[in-house]
Symmetry: C2
Subunit: 637 residues, 2 copies
């Protein structure tokens, strides 16, 4: 007899035998269902006698907008999906999608006898509305995960155990809760901000070379300063300063111990060392062609120990159209040179070929300029169709600073390359806040914001209690670290808007019954965003604790706010998750469920507050909201 097996015709009794063996090998009944209580150690468990037949790629897409590096949706209030930053850990993997090409192509039959099941197809009608194809055996019906994940918004992927066998990892949620590390200290770390990488977010156009702060493009593509983003940038660097090891620093020039070999290139180029009479320090004076292509005071950097030191810090005085250029070598299949030019311009960022231009603005005089060169490359590449593919996420191991050129006329005091300069970024943010606080004590947002199009909209110039609060948290830390009273004064001034109603350009509103709320988005009708309110409370708390010597109302504002929080927090509990805001209550639209990364932000915030206020509603809510993340839900009646 002839039998066709998988498209191959096999003749005679051999064929029959072969067929039998092949079919039999795939038709053993499986072991029955086993429910194991799992001890958090996937690799150590084995399930019955399952052996690998073949590995199939499972395409499990995350919800849109939740990819690593920040989605396009939402705002600064939660937005960290960084797991590599410092916390890393298993949960980070929850985002990994098992991509095709990861494993063996489906359909191959291994010689090992697999535990396969006789399962037949059964149509499944969903809620009398639609139909899908399921499977069944003697014991159960089996539902395809591609259906489950969309219907229920859960996640899953195939992983490998330590023995190489496949296991399917089901996740009810994504994102991590951050457990507070000891008592909260208003001059210490802030929440889990050491895990944030604000400048890496997609919606950050670049870090400005004018003031060293991130520029947002979230609600306006030309870019604007968003106070919350700037504050989070500063806070994240402060936290990293506290939690990371001391940075490695390589001194390129300091006029004393480390004198770089500067070559004066080009017509009339001159480099001299002199004592600056005003600052009484040794400086390097340069006068070279303004145009980079025509020369410059050039320092070539050969020391391989500068590899991976990607933060450039310099104190420089640039006269007229003076500029400086950092040349970086890109080593992969072929070597290329990227040039970062820091020029006298108001234009934030421009790109031509492999030349990236950052505008320093018009500010004269001595300036400290701190640049994360890797970020500057990434952002320049993101802005260029030519460079994007190759350099938008280029790793620092593939880049090396090879030279620095000073063009035009000016003086240089010092220059270093470091692995990081967190405090300097922190002070750039703190100083931005000092310089841009307006007469109302606020930092207004210069773009309009449509929260619910046609229903809740803010015109440009609006304030945010979250911005005020995050600024306070940053300014308090700057006051503490520097001892400079200007920071504390700015923080104290920042409370004024908390006493002005949203309807009058402030940030204060009330829930029925007189419960005050400080609005992240001060719309009318109100929104009652939860995480932004808590950020504002944390800022008030920081200020209250730090300013005990100075009479001010941060304590009252905090106390009133906490009273509201403890009263209204349950209204954000849906029994299976949390709400982002109370828009359903104020505008009658559908409830606005918090997606998981906001949900974990809520929990993280509550855990911090629980260490400050022992009211059980805070801690019990936090615990219940944690349970929701693994699929538990409140009971029904």
């Amino acid at each position: 007899m002839r039998v066709t097996v998988r498209g191959v015709v096999v003749g005679g009794s051999v064929g029959v035998l072969l067929t039998t063996v092949l079919l039999w090998s795939q038709c053993h009944p499986p072991p029955p269902h086993t429910h194991h209580h799992y001890q958090h150690n996937p690799s150590s468990q084995s399930v019955g006698k399952q052996q690998q037949l073949h590995r199939s790629p499972l395409q499990t897409k995350l919800q849109s907008g939740n990819g690593i590096g920040g989605g396009g949706v939402g705002d600064e209030s939660y937005l960290e999906e960084e797991y590599g930053g410092g916390g890393g850990g298993a949960n980070g993997d929850l985002h990994n999608i098992n991509q095709p090409g990861d494993g063996v192509v489906g359909g191959e039959v291994s010689p090992v006898i697999a535990a396969s099941t006789r399962l037949v197809e059964i149509p499944c009608v969903i809620n009398h509305e639609s139909e899908i194809s399921c499977r069944r055996d003697a014991q159960d019906i089996y539902i395809p995960f591609t259906f489950i994940k969309n219907y229920f918004e859960v996640y899953g992927r195939i992983d490998q155990k330590s023995d190489g066998s496949d296991v399917f990892e089901w996740s009810h949620s994504y994102s991590r809760v951050y457990e507070p590390q000891g008592l909260y200290n208003p001059t210490g770390t802030f929440l889990n901000f050491e895990l944030y990488n604000v400048e890496a977010r997609e919606r950050v156009k670049c870090v400005s070379a004018t003031e060293g702060v991130p520029i947002s493009t979230q609600w306006q593509s030309s870019g604007y300063t968003y106070p919350i983003q700037i504050a989070q940038f500063g806070l994240s660097h402060y936290c990293k300063h506290l939690t990371e090891q001391l940075p490695q620093r390589y001194v390129l020039e300091d006029g004393v111990l480390h004198k770089g070999t500067w070559l004066a290139e080009g017509v009339g180029a001159k480099v001299t060392r002199t004592l600056d009479p005003i600052s009484f320090s040794n400086v390097l004076k340069f006068r070279t062609p303004e145009s980079f292509s025509k020369g410059g005071a050039v320092l070539r950097i050969n020391d391989s120990s500068t590899q991976n030191l990607i933060v450039l810090n310099l104190n420089i005085l640039l006269q007229g159209n003076a500029s400086f250029t950092v040349s970086m070598e890109y080593k992969y299949k072929k070597t290329e040179i990227l040039r970062l030019h820091y020029i006298r311009s108001e234009k934030l960022l421009q790109v031509k070929d492999h030349q990236i231009f950052y505008g320093l603005g018009e500010e004269q005089g001595w300036r400290r300029i701190t640049r994360n060169l890797l970020i500057d490359v990434h952002k320049g590449a993101a802005a260029s169709p030519q460079l994007r593919k190759q350099f938008k996420k280029v790793s620092k191991s593939k880049l090396k600073v090879i030279s620095i050129s000073l063009n035009g006329e000016g003086s240089l005091k010092n220059m270093t390359l470091s692995s990081a300069e967190h405090l300097l970024h922190f002070y750039d943010a703190a100083n931005w806040l000092l310089n841009h606080q307006d007469e109302q004590g606020g930092w207004s947002i210069p773009v309009p914001r449509k929260v619910i199009s046609g229903v809740l909209e803010l015109e440009s110039g609006w304030y945010s209690a979250m911005a005020q609060g995050q600024a306070m948290s940053l300014l308090v830390r700057a006051a503490h670290h520097s001892g400079d009273s200007r920071y504390l004064k700015a923080a104290l001034r920042a409370t004024a808007l908390f006493s002005v109603n949203s309807t009058r350009g402030g940030v204060r509103t009330y829930f029925p019954g007189g419960y005050v709320w400080y609005e992240e988005y001060p719309t009318n009708p109100s929104l009652f965003v939860l995480n932004g309110f808590i950020y504002s409370l944390l800022g008030l708390y920081d200020l209250k604790e730090f300013s005990t010597g100075t009479s001010n109302n941060s304590g009252d504002l905090f106390d009133e706010g906490m009273k509201s929080l403890k009263k209204l927090l349950p209204l954000f509990d849906t029994g299976w998750g949390s709400l982002y805001d109370l828009r359903h209550f104020t505008t009658h639209v559908a409830p606005n469920r918090a997606r998981w990364d906001y949900h974990t932000t809520h929990i993280t915030q509550l855990l911090l507050l629980a260490s400050v206020d022992s009211d059980p509603v805070i801690s019990s809510t936090a615990q219940r909201w944690k349970d929701y993340m693994v699929g538990h839900r409140a009971s029904h009646n």
Copy 2:
């Protein structure tokens, strides 16, 4: 070669061939996933070429407490799971559990070649916590439904298409929404109460023979009158009166046209017809042994047209220890006689062997007594370990009234057997309300109630806005139907407690901001139960509309209540279901999710209110809550 197939050793090449054919028949790959949009007509769709292999029983248990006939949990506020009553329909089947024994024993192989799949087992780790066994093929992972249904609280069962093939019916929810039939009329039907069968509920001990109203055992096993239950009993019969066909009635005795053949049995037994001087009507006077076993005035009923007429109505005067007995014949495998004795006793219900005793109480004088004999048998059997199994749910087709005996001394005016006497049950309830309304205008509940043990408890004697409202709805209809002003007066008196705070023994509370709420359970702190509040609003509405000629505050109470409802309704919306109450807000326990039959009650109530108040929050909420029932959910941010 020898091969063992399913335990049978088959030799030689025949064995090989047989094996091959058998295995091959079970190993065809299935057609790929198909998603069909389903047009509400399961039987007309077919899925690929699936043919039946075997039918497996799928044990899909409902949530506890939700069986047909009423669960043990909860109260009158939602409690209808009747689908056979009048509305019936497909959704009723959602409760049916495919029981073992329904179909073919699992494991049999039909000779038809089945579309089966090569599916292998894969362990699946759930949220890093536990492990289950799933299946996979080249395209997908398949999750066992037994896991899905518990994890997500969904429902499913195997059904058969018209061609006999199996289909799996997935249901996100159970219970039905009732669409209002035209504009709401306060003297017409009430919600979907024609579908209710209050007396059939498990927690109804019996219908009292003292006053013809249901007795509850929900919170006290000896039984007590629960005003809400009594009102719902009355309203359901009123609705059935309006919606059902006229009842069939068989006159057993009326003293004029229909004179039954009464036999005077026993020592000294006498039966005479006479004109009663007081009521000026022909009556049947009887004087017979008080003990049923010793005789009585006996009417034997032979006419087969009385089969299925199970409601006995009589006007009788019973002197001293007089009583009457209904003898019913039970015809199944063997014939048995059940006797229902209605005796002079305060004991609600007693059972000895096949004798069931209902206490008529001590009230003297002429009485109309209306008994649903089937219910009386069911409840008697439920109370007797002996009778329970056979008679607790005996169908009326198996019972027949064979005789009625009058014992002791008294007079009978008339007696009928009907298919139903809805109006009489209605008036029994209305009159109970008249007779038991207290000086505060309320009907208090005579048992304590632990809403949340140790946190929210009510002592006996508490009032309920829901009881007040349901009573109003019933009394308004009684006033309308009878023209008797006592009913309207009682309804008007019933509003007083709406102006007394819960803390002072009334039913009124306030949500922050001054929003009034009428409490179903007037606890302290408050509960804000939604469905009970709406029932109270409907009662106020009925009274407001009916009493326009009389100055009263039902209109104001209704208006204030509606203002609150429209404001606070969103707080009951969780984004995927509704809440039963706001206990999480007032006591900081977990949110109390409404199970599906409460959820549909909410929607049904809102749909009615939407016809009375056009504010879009009512109709849009109702629509959104409908969508939740098929698995839709509010978006996340």
